[in-house]
Symmetry: C2
Subunit: 742 residues, 2 copies
């Protein structure tokens, strides 16, 4: 043997790399790189020779059919955009929906002779169009030659042929390029690449064969065509509304939505499946894992971005993301769901924003949320996890679920808010609402997680000094108290709790909970005797800055006297339920006669809570108590949402397209202190794109007025919305409706 040099090395011993490693290629893995960008389309050759031997240069084409012009019929008032419900898009390109015929006009050098001439339209999507991957689609003008998309000549006149093309109802959604190819004896001759022949193909809720087909025109108008929406927040017994301009038809929004799928390198071949598109988008709408659209921030410090409460619509956010290609700051749950809604409606997937009051979070799909009390019944905040949000917003989108057994199509929950644990990733859904209602949490995706969000029990434990614990009370009705969405075609809300749950206490409800347990959801099984004393915290409507009274009721259902050692704690909390600071604590001892009710009055002064307020101004009261005679623990919880002052928005009573009108925002600082670093934002679909104005100081008691001259672009009824945002007070808004005449 003759090894010139050898070296032996112990493990681990890969050769030391010098410099950065080269980019790993696909060479032995795939012949063609994966197509995962819709931003550019590779062209196919302008001339494709038949056979190896052929004339050099372009052959003489005098005798043969040649193309002299192509008209995509892409104006909003032409047949395509009207029939395809895409006339509102602010775009010069043709935008159509799949599974439905659209028309293009081709002008030849001479009349078309069907018997001898052969031409085809070719549709290409992505950087490596390929027939076998479905990214290159030739369409012939003769039905019998159909391969996938159908083509037919709908009209001929002189040299002009109008051709009708029907993309399949499951084709990829995105931006295509079209070429016209003519067969000559020497080879195939094609039109030059021209941006004007780009077209967008969207999902089609109007086409029965499309997976997103929704057979209800009123719902389609709301969930695909409506730009102006309402998102509910506050508390279930004191619901607040936030207007939002989804703006899915605004200039650039459609391209931004396609960019989102490009940014995460979603294969083009997955973009026809609404299950895959919505799942991927639920991951991409948040910046976790993947530099997605929105950075979450619940810290109260929004110095380096826009406060989540300040946004009025999605347009700003999506355009900023598409231009900077960097996550936009900042979002909380309603911003995630609002921008997700824009994405879905823009691509043609019917969708709506849903609010769940008392939403169980971060509990990994278990049906138990623990609250720990000390031996005396007082809440032990350091040992209590924080997993009930006052409310949470997610999206529902409408689609068939061919990947599941029959019965689970229809509305599906998707959620873009990053939570701790949803299959270990920051994404959620689509989860069938039907599956959630029936406890069939075994079906993808994340149904068990959403099930827990609306069905968890709250379990109170008493922890003794030596560390042992025992359950003392279970509240089975607190979580998922109410689920609402905006009604279709109306500016009212709709209670859809019954879509998610059978009625409280029904046999069906019990069966469903058992079913879900079979699929691994963990529940509390404690059999606890009902307490004979009830603690009730009544509902309240309070404006920020007001002093108010909390009227705690102790109801004795027993025939004996009862003495209760009670603890009442008031905290300022984020809408996520996380306490910021405790501003009130009382520990009265209350004596209640047999079958009597005693009221305990607690006065809450604004000076105590005002300095602690965080952006959504929620006060959280927990009252607990221990009945001396029985040792039973009693509890009550209440969220009081403080009502903010309002912006007054006024707009000229009647407006006309292309005629100037005025929009005005007025605000009076109702407090005795000054507001600093104030942003006011205003926008109205079809009237005005988002604009913001900065006020460095608004002294206490003083007023401001901001007037804008605007020119409506579109007729129809619409709204102008405005928000005011500053560190001292968030969530101030106002709105005005207006009808624009043509």
């Amino acid at each position: 043997m003759s090894d010139v040099s050898t070296t032996t090395s112990p493990s681990p011993a890969p050769p030391a790399p010098t410099g950065p490693p080269p980019k790993v290629t696909n060479r032995g893995r795939t012949t063609v790189p994966l197509a995962s960008s819709n931003s550019d389309t590779a062209d196919i050759p302008e001339f494709e020779y038949f056979g190896v031997v052929g004339p050099r240069g372009l052959p003489p084409l005098t005798d043969y059919l040649d193309i002299s012009g192509v008209d995509m019929m892409r104006r909003p008032d032409e047949i395509n955009k009207k029939q395809h419900h895409t006339m509102f898009f602010n775009s010069d390109s043709l935008i159509v929906r799949r599974g439905q015929e659209f028309q293009v006009k081709i002008t030849f050098n001479r009349p078309y002779k069907p018997a001898e001439d052969l031409f085809a339209l070719e549709f290409l999507i992505g950087p490596t169009p390929d027939f076998s991957k479905g990214t290159y689609i030739p369409v012939f003008p003769i039905k019998q030659r159909k391969i996938t998309w159908e083509g037919r000549v709908t009209n001929t006149s002189d040299n002009v042929v109008t051709m009708g093309i029907t993309p399949t109802a499951d084709c990829f959604v995105g931006k295509y390029h079209m070429t016209v190819a003519v067969k000559t004896p020497y080879g195939i001759r094609r039109t030059k690449w021209d941006k004007s022949r780009d077209l967008y193909i969207l999902f089609n809720p109007w086409a029965a064969a499309d997976a997103v087909f929704l057979d209800d025109e009123r719902e389609r108008q709301e969930c695909v065509m409506t730009e102006m929406g309402i998102i509910y927040h506050g508390a279930y017994d004191d619901i607040a509304e936030r207007n939002w301009n989804y703006g899915q038809f605004n200039y650039g929004v459609l391209d931004a939505c396609l960019f989102i799928m490009d940014k995460c390198e979603m294969p083009i071949t997955n973009r026809g499946d609404p299950v895959k598109v919505t799942r991927k988008a639920s991951a991409m709408l948040n910046s976790r894992d993947d530099d997605g659209v929105l950075v979450g921030n619940w810290s109260g410090d929004y110095t380096y971005g826009v406060a989540p409460t300040s946004w009025t619509g999605s347009t700003d956010i999506l355009l900023a993301y598409a231009s900077s290609k960097m996550p936009v700051r900042y979002a909380q749950c309603w911003v995630y769901s609002a921008v997700f809604n824009t994405f879905l409606r823009c691509l043609g997937i019917p969708s709506r924003v849903v609010t769940n009051y008392f939403s169980a979070h971060d509990n990994d799909g278990n049906l138990k949320t623990d609250i720990i009390l000390d031996e005396n019944g007082r809440i032990d905040r350091s040992r209590t996890r924080d997993s009930i949000w006052n409310y949470h917003c997610w999206n529902e989108c409408y689609m068939s679920r061919p990947d599941l057994p029959p019965g689970f199509g229809g509305w599906q929950v998707v959620d873009a808010t990053p939570q701790e644990t949803s299959d270990g990733m920051y994404r959620c859904g689509p989860a069938s609402v039907q599956a959630i209602k029936h406890g069939q949490t075994c079906f993808p995706f994340d149904a068990a997680f959403v099930f827990a969000e609306v069905n968890s029990d709250v379990v109170f434990y008493a922890r003794s000094k030596d560390g042992t614990m025992e359950p003392v009370r279970v509240n089975r009705t607190h979580v998922g108290r109410l689920i609402v969405t905006k009604a279709a075609g109306d500016v009212t809300r709709r209670d859809i709790t019954d879509q998610y749950k059978f009625s409280e206490g029904s046999t069906e409800e019990r069966t469903v909970l058992e079913k879900a347990e079979e699929y691994g959801c963990k529940r509390d099984k404690s059999e606890l005797p009902a307490a004979d004393v009830d603690l009730v915290l009544p509902s309240l409507e309070v404006s920020v800055g007001d002093d108010f009274e909390l009227n705690l009721e102790f109801v004795n259902h027993s025939g004996q006297r009862r003495i209760v050692d009670a603890y009442i704690s008031g905290s300022v909390v984020f809408y996520t339920g996380v306490p910021s600071s405790e501003f009130l604590f009382r520990d009265p001892t209350v004596t209640i006669g047999p079958n009597k009710t005693v009221k305990e009055l607690v006065v809450v002064e604004s000076k105590n809570y005002m300095k602690h307020l965080v952006e959504q101004s929620n006060l959280h009261f927990i009252a607990t108590g221990k009945v001396k005679e029985t040792g039973q623990i009693i509890t009550a919880m209440k969220v009081v949402t403080l009502h903010n002052p309002k912006l007054i928005v006024t707009i000229s009573e009647r407006g006309k397209v292309n005629e100037e009108m005025t929009a005005t925002v007025e605000f009076t600082n109702p407090f005795t202190f000054s507001l600093e670093d104030v942003y006011i934002r205003m926008e109205g679909p079809g009237i005005m794109l988002p604009k913001s104005k900065y006020y460095s100081l608004i002294p206490g008691g003083s007023s401001l007025t901001w007037t804008e001259y605007v020119i409506p672009q579109r007729y129809g009824s619409t709204r102008m919305i405005a928000t005011l945002d500053c560190p001292a007070i968030r969530q101030v808004y106002g709105q005005a409706s207006v009808a624009i005449e043509p």
Copy 2:
């Protein structure tokens, strides 16, 4: 109004950030940060006072119980490691399995009096131990005080108490810290933090209540305890074996496996669920998305790392990853599945490596793989996608599936090889093998994808000059031809194809395919008349460097003469099926008499293919033809795996623990050319850790010998394995068995 300064800005207008944004905190989102690291455990206070008022400093403890020593009984020959099947771990720490009692000995300052003394063992995991999250577990010595884990005193003698602790069978898997807490009248007193009281709790296939319970000792011995495995590759009719040292008990491997979960910030609270652990690991074993363990490379250029064919075991890879915290270069499918297997066996999840011959890939769960022919029946490589791998390796792991309806527990497919499309992410599974067999592809995770890997049809299309295409032939038996794994307790292979599929042509098979179609798998529906001529490519066994003959058979089943225009193409291919270069092409015209067979002999000379060889030395022959009389297209495909020369490994006939012995590798270069840049690697479980040696040149025809002196650490039968790797020839290996005496 009195705004000192105002600015109006058009959209989008977030205030320009100056400098990098601050780290976004959890402040309003969660009270306690998410625990997702198992590398350090926060301690709890050494003294916890009762009440606000108490003496300063430690109180006098003369009267009270105090701890003077703790013995974790962690030696391999003590009861814990023996009973828990963890005696092979090369680790000083206690390692036990959940759902099964283990013992610790506590020495007090005086005898323990059960009636008056109160103490507890506390187990903590992760940076923020918390009772309600299950990351802080107090265990009392009295059964009645059990909260979750059971405790009991198993023995007392003088001042020493032996306590038995039974972690719940669903507790989190990972590294815990244990403290002993004693109650005194002033508060709770605890032992100081001490690394010697760290313990590891693993999954337990021996415990009936554990989700990974496997009721078969032979399978448990193979799939949890066996370090030395065999991975099958090559072709279904010429199977090759590769030995692999999983090394799950080697020093540092367990910590490396826990580090993998830390690296991806997997919440501690998810680490008790084998479904979540295996799913997450399938993502983390590859470096895509998440800087996981292994970088895939199919390029043939491995200059900056170790060639995938060169590894002999998992230890090197896992230790390198844990120490560098950076992805290790390079892997192909068997390396992913082998290292994944180590991860699973190390944590106690029964697992095995499985090989599927002709595996359909990158087709997104559809049951169709297209091959495009031109008008004459010759393959059009530029239009043909590349999605049948000659073979593919994945893992099966054993667990119950409480998240699915009954019947889908047992073996589950997980796959760490990054593929184009598995739910849009680079991960796959766990998918129930039962669900795959029965076409129940609606259940998570990725069952439809794996179903397609073993069930796709190969569809041949003919493409005419004008671009139209039509299916001309469908091969329904090519894909998923054979599925094998190593037999338990034996060094033979086991055919497990019937676990994945009903027999070809059975009624069940048809039903299953229809079921899968209902769940959205797309199949080819072409009704094609059976051709009356068959094309057969016989099996071949060929050594690299040999000339050989390919004997193509044309079988005419008709009563008429048939003339076939045939095309025979030979290419060097990667094991992924991607062609590297075509080295042979013939286009004979063959005339076959009625009911006759004609053989067409094609001579393949090594000089033609040798210069094109890529690492796995596969030759791929496709023969196609068009029958002149009927226009029918006939096809045949064959992969010929070239056999490499072997390493000769010899080892002293008998060995004894702690006695030196020799291991020798010999190799002769059988070629006329020199081999350059040669690495030889050798390792043997319990005998020798991986070592490698570098030879800059091995001239043609020359031999080398490498002898190592080794000292066995463990008794039992084991194997020494070696690989040789250089750019000109990969996959050269050899092995020798040996029995080590105690």
